[in-house]
Symmetry: D2
């Protein structure tokens, strides 16, 4: 049994605690937060869990094997570094760090200390993404044309990061996981309507090799909530609408066939194919539950987590580049 | 009664003919096309209309007052120039020309010759856009935050222009009409999956003054057809889904209120407002019918058309800039 | 080539004419209507078609092989009888007649005169119904549980028949075609809100053998237009939404398994199965075009039409029973 | 503070306990169930609540003021009777009893004992129904034409009651609450596909005075979950789709105007009106929380609950009649 401590029990931390508590491989021991009222909230729900306002009580506790860090982004680097240095395995909230240099350092540190560093890229563990991944890996989609994701709603405006750092880590981690391609560069645009230098509407394009292109629309100022991702390939195309309780994933037997003729100047003939649509049943297991078990399993077996430090670093690199690009009005930032 | 000739009766021309034929102010006299089979198609539907394979028969016909040009873009400049020089009023298909220099020249020529030059920006005459325009002008939306439009479907790939030149003129003309702002610059990205140098998936951001931002997603490789435009302001937000037969326009009483405190470092307080939604009944009159009547009325009265040559030029400038930007991987192109 | 005359060119007649005109096997010769303005409308669209205000000109014309009757229901019997007696093949609008006795007489008359009598049950020839029929016949649905259809919208109120006679013939003909079962009885309810004795909201249940049950909701007073049919079987279940342009038909791998135990008093165990959904591509051919060709083919080959007089009679019997039931507040009417 | 005991903590009971526990006016004291594992489930969530397998421990406890009964229907009468006779106020799960005679007896008993008897018709306390009720009472809909409700999904089959007794109490209680009319009679049809005499698909029509008609479709064998209610009046029409998270209620400015002329034989002229649609924001308060507070308030103040014993009796009368009708294949049962 792995003894687990959780640092930060604001919005997301309680879910982490609930799942570590329910996991057969882990023993949820202690939680810390700067706000006492959050700790009493946790004690009420989980009377057996110790609480503390000092995270060092967790990091210095020799009895603790693993630490989950669910605090604001700007604290991730310091806390994860301390935890790794203290020999703990680390389960880290996304986005991983504020800079890619910090993320790289954590990746190296974890390797050096031989500790498991896993990123909480929750969506990767959902039934929907796992199913799409299976289709992509099996080649069902053919060669990928593009990945297009829209994640928009009203609020919640963050105080310290723009809408890309807030919402796009979901899409970036999914796209990195599905495409398994090294991105070349980022072009991002956006606007700040509140005047604090934090964009509330933003668009980013990521260029990949082989004409694969990805685009993400993140927006805190939308009257409607949209969670829609298109993934199109030469053979099939997927529409994933995460707002729909059933039929989240629709696979379209749709595409084009390009016939090149001798005289290519005017005669590239494009034929269109629209066929059946198929909505496979998506399993409803809670992603976080799978994830927490995977973390425990990786620690025990020494396996590399699916969402390891490198996956976290990949996301931060794109976020960082997008921020540079957005401030330079769409300047292409190489990765 | 205005005598009208139509040059080009491919996909769209027959609709133009039908509407000039039905209009009480116009007399649909003659149609030309290079393909005889298109002309026999027209003669079958409209036995009273003369046809010719030589557009000069129309331009040189002293009896013809106005010419509608419904040919491929690359021919617009030459044909419109000849028609204006021959003293005809011109009803011109969109996009206006292949370059902004050509468009400027046509605007000047029309002014010099005191002829009406009107662009067929059809959407401007739909009940939906006219209703949104009314809301925007009345200040119902407050200050505009952004304009976001998605126009995607499978095909039809064009041989000579990319997906932006093909689909985005609709969105650009609508956005120009609604915002009435001078755009500052364009950032565009995209990818060509066929290998002819014509992007089939493209994204463009247009920067406007006062933090107003616009974005268009145009795509020939989508498994689903989406025609959705969001227009958000400080007071209200609109979702216009042109695929829905009824309830195309939804007006949301949704928004944010920003309360600034003395200590602004951490304390900009943002309050969210979500209220009723309202779907006003949108009139179903055919846009082209209104448009053709407006053209006749402008010729008679000397009024400037709502979609005049300058409106056409505005669209071409943005298209031209988007093409430069897309080829330079998102480089900001000033307008 | 079959020479065809059409009697009645109100709302639907022009479609019939257009399709007989386009059919390679038929020669659309003459149309009649009591209203001269309808005839001039036809002449404008089809200058080659003769017109007359006297239907006898069609029936007595020895040159005419087949007559399509598109007049109000109460005239069907007389006109069809005259046409059959004159040796014409008859293409008859639905519902077939005002009474089942009349329908029976026409069936017999057609048999005696060896003429083709075909009902215009258009939906039977749509891609959607043909696809569902294929699934049912192949046993893909297993044993049918029920057929449930909702056909509601605002108006158009009819002057001479209630909402069941107006809207339900579609559903009844579809259900008769798909189930191929002899109905046992009908229970119908409804209300007349205008006060002319014609129900504008109505519900009808049709009992079939083997616990198969069918239900139709027909309504002229609905704020929304719904065209939804559920067909559930032991193996699969179909939802057909005719308002959706694509994905009209959705096939659900959904159902129950009943496990009976020895002690059946309390222990019938029901297991639920929800699986994938599949939306096969539905061909978009115009139903009426197929239908008109089928009519010509039946006349030529002597084959019995899919929607023959007996199919028409089956519909009228259920309509007639539903009217009796509705007037008797749901009294079961045996068929 | 009112001391409350809950009998029956299966599926719904835990929600009742949670809400009585959270209510400021009530003191959640004791829960009973025949199954010890349900009691340990409750103790884990609410360590302060006493539990017992014998409901008499609650009824005989002089300290208990009110009893909530959340057991299967067939036990309601006995338990509620004992509780009322013991001087307890009773909060009773729906449907109230298995027969209307039992329901009448409970109404009388509660009156005689001067105790509050309230039915848990939860939907009446939802934001959606309260908003519709406000519109109806304000006369916004005009005179009601009809109430039409569809409540269908896959399972859960009940062992002791048919689908009407299982699902329709929701719709019947809502319709009784909104219409405030005395029903005249019921016609119901249905089918049992499992063979235990319990219909799994059922339809019922309720006749009200003034041509108001109501219809409910309840179904355990549907591949899709539908929760849709139409309420149409002379002035406005409402579509309530309870599956939609936002925009549950849509109010349509749709209807007909009947113009009667002197010669009424053929000339009743019906004009159609389709106008704007309006989706008012529906408050999201938990219905059960409002309900439990209302119960406490009624006990304290002596007010009659909105969903009193008579409301419960009204529902049972219609259920009972529908069962008689369904067994007699649609025979009209007077109320």
């Amino acid at each position: 049994m792995l003894n687990v401590g959780v640092i930060g029990v604001g919005y997301w931390g309680p879910n982490i605690i609930r799942n570590f508590d329910a996991c057969n491989e882990t023993n949820m021991v202690v939680a810390s937060d700067l706000k006492p009222e959050r700790l009493s909230f946790i004690r009420k729900k989980h009377p057996a869990i110790r609480t503390t306002t000092d995270f060092n009580d967790i990091i210095n506790d020799a009895n603790i094997d693993a630490v989950a860090i669910c605090t604001p982004v700007f604290t991730h680097y310091d806390l994860a570094k301390k935890a790794l240095e203290a020999g703990k395995h680390v389960f880290l909230e996304k986005p991983m760090t504020s800079t890619s240099a910090q993320a790289e350092e954590l990746v190296e540190l974890a390797a050096r200390k031989k500790r498991t560093l896993m990123l909480d890229h929750t969506f990767i563990y959902t039934g929907a993404v796992q199913m799409i991944k299976k289709f992509v890996e099996a080649g069902d989609l053919g060669d990928i044309y593009y990945f297009d994701s829209v994640r928009i709603n009203l609020g919640l405006f963050q105080h310290d990061v723009n809408v890309i750092w807030d919402l796009a880590p979901h899409d970036i981690s999914i796209m990195d996981h599905l495409l398994q391609l090294k991105p070349e560069s980022v072009v991002a645009t956006g606007a700040d309507h509140v005047g604090k230098g934090l964009e509330d509407v933003a668009y980013m394009t990521v260029y990949y090799p082989n004409n694969v292109i990805a685009h993400i629309h993140a927006n805190w100022l939308s009257p409607v909530k949209i969670r829609q991702t298109l993934i199109a390939g030469t053979k099939k195309m997927i529409v994933w609408d995460d707002n729909i309780p059933n039929e989240k994933i629709k696979v379209y037997d749709t595409g084009i066939t390009v016939n090149r003729t001798k005289d290519e100047i005017y005669d590239t003939l494009i034929q269109y194919r629209t066929g059946d649509m198929w909505a496979p049943k998506v399993p409803l297991t809670e992603a976080l539950s799978l994830e927490v078990n995977h973390f425990a399993d990786c620690i025990k077996s020494g396996k590399t987590p699916v969402t390891d430090g490198v996956a976290g670093l990949n996301v931060v690199r794109i976020l960082e580049a997008s921020e540079k690009s957005i401030k330079a009005r769409g300047k292409e930032i190489k990765l």
